[in-house]
Symmetry: C2
Subunit: 356 residues, 2 copies
């Protein structure tokens, strides 16, 4: 890993983004904001799964009017997502949101920005300049096209307007639905500014391909030390975004939460059904938030090495699974019904977590 | 993207790895190799989905004896995966495999390597020096520990032995179950050698976290221009490895195959059920191998921009989905039963593919 880029720290209702703080995980509700109850219950589900900041779309006055209720009942700071309307931005500030996201593609009027900056400043509310390659302003498109250069130019323009008001409580995001464009825009920006960066690949889609675009775009930048907070955008239940975010951060050793299962792809050598045991364990141990590395290996080729460098490991042999704890062989789980083998491995993991 | 690292070209039964050739997609069977019928039918399924090279475990003599049959009936070149036994390597060469994978962690005897190199050379069969952090040789572990440095040292040692025999028909892989270690080992190696690199994160596991480790490890390296062939290792049906490999390559613009769905995560603004339409389309259009970019967007904020820069786009409004073709508005798919909307979008995509 390269060393983390130096960035300023911005305080979002007590959650710190940037500087030496851990990368913050956020998501966005997809409920109708006018339904405060539904929205709140989604916020709470997200928080239970590890979400640290929640953004909410504020597309109309009715939505803005629901903000005070949502904010007061939410366990984490709430961010208002604003497009087109300076008035909704001002209403959200008044409602007490912890941060505003403005899209420089559709809020560009100098007087409007001035007003919003003044009010946000008086309430100590940071603003995210949220550039999206899908909604660049026409004058940017005319000059640069839909490109990384255009995205950075769009951010710079809005930052200039805010700084012109003495406002520097800024977070920036540069999201494209194209992975390469996202990486390039963030790299370019990070060489010029020290504002904290919010990372994401926008409109990544759903399923496998959405996960992969997000993992490569966000992961490549984090590996370079770029990025202070992340939001994975999936066309899925937003709960999936949180699990994915932690998987990305865990893969790079940036945040530790839950079980890291190391398991082989199985091949002609495999002695026990690792795949079934792994799938079943992942489900059964979904409640675990402590960090633990578990190796499930089909044979001894890499098995002994992996099991030996994990907290807990199982290596398939024709006699059954050799169980390793903290690098030492402990016992053999006999070859039997796969459910029973899974039971025994699960018990060993829970015992391990309870006694350490 | 950084420019691709310069690497030599190695010919694997007609499939070229390295140089300016496209990144080659490979996988490995997980059937019992002694069952030639089952193994062949898995090979064929993999090839149908786009696999260009298939590796097969050869753990015993009986497996080696099945190789001629498998090789003669396989539509793509077959690679033998060898551990421990020089004899099985020699039997595989004789059987006509297109490449050997040797693990320098368990085949290190100079005389053995000499014999294998001589036979492989006479048959023009390349050898992959396949280092795995889970099976480093004890003398490497003693000196370097389980580390990127140790992985590179292990590769160098085996390369030295092969080069000592005048053998340079070499591909190298440096796989760890840790993403950071995988990236570091490959970076270090690629600065010193121009042998083509086979990339993979080993024992990545299954499900979401397996996809994410693979995408970050392989994707970060490819984005840097490192990597000539990839194998995604998942604890899943190997068919999943192929789809994942193409998703990774497509995300980076390195290979184009199938549908690239750009779709928004949905939020409080969403006007049509993009998520259902997307999931259903992905299933229905699994047969498409042509490259096409389809945008499915819940509202107009980024929708017009994304739809306008895709081959085909749908933007949700309260009147229904605005359908764009090659950047131009074509018609409105009325808000109706989601199945019927999906039917209409699928028809538009198939028409597009048929007429271009």
């Amino acid at each position: 890993m390269m060393t983390k880029r130096t960035s300023r720290t911005v305080d979002v209702g007590g959650v710190k983004i940037g500087g030496d703080n851990p990368v913050v995980v956020q998501s966005m509700t997809n409920t109708d904001t006018r339904d405060a109850g539904k929205t709140l219950s989604q916020v709470k589900r997200l928080v239970e799964d590890g979400c640290e900041l929640v953004r909410i779309a504020v597309p109309d006055k009715k939505s803005a009017q629901r903000l005070p209720k949502i904010i007061s009942d939410s366990p984490v700071p709430i961010i208002a997502d604003i497009h087109y309307s300076p008035q909704l931005a001002l209403m959200s500030i008044e409602a007490g949101v912890a941060k505003l996201r403005l899209n420089p593609g559709n809020i560009t009027n100098v007087k409007d920005i001035k007003n919003i900056a003044k009010e946000a400043s008086s309430m100590s509310i940071p603003i995210r300049v949220g550039v999206n390659s899908g909604s660049l302003h026409q004058h940017i498109l005319d000059k640069y096209g839909r490109s990384a250069t255009g995205m950075v130019a769009s951010a710079e323009e809005e930052i200039g307007l805010l700084e012109g008001q003495g406002f520097e409580d800024i977070v920036v995001s540069l999201k494209s639905s194209e992975v390469n464009m996202t990486i390039e825009a963030n790299r370019t920006f990070s060489r010029k500014y020290d504002y904290p960066l919010h990372l994401g690949v926008t409109e990544a889609g759903g399923g496998r391909s959405g996960l992969i675009k997000s993992a490569i775009g966000i992961g490549t930048l984090l590996h370079e030390g770029i990025g202070d907070t992340i939001r994975v955008s999936l066309t899925e239940d937003p709960i999936e975004e949180i699990a994915t975010a932690y998987d990305i951060l865990r893969s790079l050793g940036l945040r530790k939460r839950g079980i890291d299962i190391v398991s082989c792809p199985t091949c002609g050598r495999t002695e026990i059904d690792i795949q079934k045991i792994g799938k079943s364990l992942e489900k059964r141990l979904g409640d675990v938030t402590e960090s633990i590395r578990v190796a499930l290996m089909g044979c001894s080729v890499n098995g002994i090495g992996e099991a030996g460098s994990s907290n807990l490991g199982v290596v398939g042999t024709n006699k059954g699974g050799l169980l390793y704890v903290d690098g030492n062989y402990k016992e053999t789980v006999p070859n039997m019904d796969i459910e029973k083998m899974t039971d025994q491995v699960e018990r060993a993991i829970r015992d391990y977590l309870n006694t350490r």
